[in-house]
Amino acid sequence: MYDLVLQGAASVFQPWPLIAIMVGVAGGLVIGSIPGLTSTMAIALLVPITYAMDIKIALPLLMGVYCGAISGGLVGAILLNIPGTPASASTCLDGFPMAAKGQATRALGLAVYSSMIGGTISGLALMTIAPLLAKVALSFGPWEYFSLVVFTFSCISAMSVKGRAVKAFMAAFIGLALALVGLDEASGQVRMTFGFTSLEAGFNELPALIGLYAIPQLLADCDDIGKAGTLLKIDYNLRTFMGTFSEVMTRKRDLLRSSFIGIVIGILPGVGPGLSNIVAYSQAKRASKHPEKYGTGELPESVMSPEAANNASMGGALIPMLTLGIPGDASTLMMLGAFMLHGIDPGPLLFRDNGTIVWIAFISFFVAFAFCTVIYHFFIPLTVKAISVPRYYVIPILLILCVVGCYALNNRMFDVYCFLGFGLLGYLLEIARVPVLPVILGLILGPMAEKQLRLALAFGQDSLTPFFTRPISGTILAVAILSLIVPPLLARYRSYRRRSLNEEIA
């Protein structure tokens, strides 16, 4: 094992692989931070090019882009309120309000350093207990998956403004209903297409995400043009930025919890960073002593939790891919393709037959995080400058980039029209003061829920009992139900106590 580690390290710490990681991270950061250009797109465009390269350079490059692009999402989320990937969707919730208060540097610093810590923790997990984690991933049957989906769904209640939780669930149901459109892969039936062939592919979640966030935000940004002082006040200086590191360290409990959530959710194929940030945010809020301050951008942990979790998930997502050959999401699926074209069989024997390759991946992942953090210190000032470019230049360019990004995902104009359609939906929801995040969650969770429910029922001969009797599944469901019931009761109890206290004083 140790000579494999050394071999891996020896082949990563060479000039070319290091340059590849650096280029990958830098490019990934740029792409990830620009709304409209997603990490999936970056990898989709890059993978075919890596086919012609040596795997020892291709792999570090891909790892660099993967880390950079997913991590870069936080910049768009905080500065523009447009997340670059679903992975940073809940970073918007507090990151943007914090930046809008003039504390953009603080928000960015918190996000960057917690990303780094989350990524490092998951990198350590990757290197030390990957085979063990792979076993955990394999123990997840459809029952556990379905319960997890229910649990994530229940998180919506924790993410919404007081008194409007049901509205958020309605938004989620819109997402679920939209997810039904198209061909049902398992049964081969076409559903809800109203007879249109182009709808048979269903709605891709990325154009939906970009549309839902970008169009309402960019339209709203139009109001700011010509008014002095409404732009984000940028107070960037390196000292403030680096000073946030000590602030991050004051919230160790949140960091550890979020990283743990990120790793556990990350190792499950098909779930990944897109959901972990949401779960981590809602759990941080539930555990917090001041849940009412979430969404206002006051607390550091509300920005840190989703970022620590999504970066932790990245390392997690590599585990099933490298140890079992099972892709977790679109990005890892494409990386698997790259492996195959280089003549490497991803599968349970990858560790045995191509141990060096696995270690190159692990070590590159680690190095990529280190580079990522370093490059951020140069990159953030640039983005801050880019933000202060007049809005009448920024808005059209961002719209164009969204169009390019949506098209490049699948080479289809249909996705670009979806971007517009979801944008209008998002605008209507914004007018109705309903959050858009649950729509995305519904779109992502819908197909997953249906698939796992169907499998659970089919494997269990139409019985519902395994959902409750299987230990992991039962626990998750219990937590989900408790988390829906307990917080309102607790709030009621607290207000009752406060009232009775007040009466006593009076």
Binding site: G163, F169, M192, Y392, L399, I400, V403, Y407, Y427, A432
Partner: protein, 152 residues
């Protein structure tokens, strides 16, 4: 703000009802144990239930203090500048397939910058032209030349 909430509820229920009409078109696949109709029925049924309950609740509940008024929200949402941008953008999307991506994008970029600039001056046109050329150049160079990607 009640009006807005009720409008949203109405919109929501209509969307789900339209989706519901498609349910009847699904057949139970004869070779499957779990049909492809189960989950859609669950989603739309539960969704409608939630919608109806929330609508009733909105009708009964008092309007919370501090919520923005109906007319204020709508006049802001349909402000001239926002609608103008949206209009230009929609036109742009549908001309891409007609005249090609590069031409449509250059025109859109140029026009949108000028329309959005508060007080257009001759220098605005120059700025717009430079920004347009730069954007198109970067996109083309990066995507087509280096990444061998396809443009719409």
């Amino acid at each position: 703000m009640k009006t807005n909430d009720l409008l949203f509820s109405a919109f929501y229920i209509v969307v789900l009802l339209i989706a519901g009409t498609q349910l009847s078109k699904l057949s139970d696949t004869n070779s499957a144990m779990v049909s492809s109709k189960l989950f859609p029925t669950l989603v739309i049924g539960a969704g409608l239930a939630v919608g109806v309950i929330e609508t009733l609740r909105t009708l009964i509940a008092k309007t919370p203090d501090g919520a923005p008024s109906f007319s204020m929200v709508w006049s802001k949402a349909f402000a001239a500048r926002r609608m103008m941008l949206l209009g230009v953008f929609v036109v742009y999307l549908f001309t891409i397939t007609l005249v090609g991506f590069l031409v449509a994008t250059s025109v859109f970029c140029f026009v949108a910058i000028i329309l959005l600039t508060p007080k257009p001056r001759p220098s605005t046109f120059l700025g717009a032209a430079i920004v347009t050329a730069g954007t198109i150049g970067v996109i083309y160079e990066l995507l087509v030349v280096y990444l061998q990607a396809f443009l719409p």
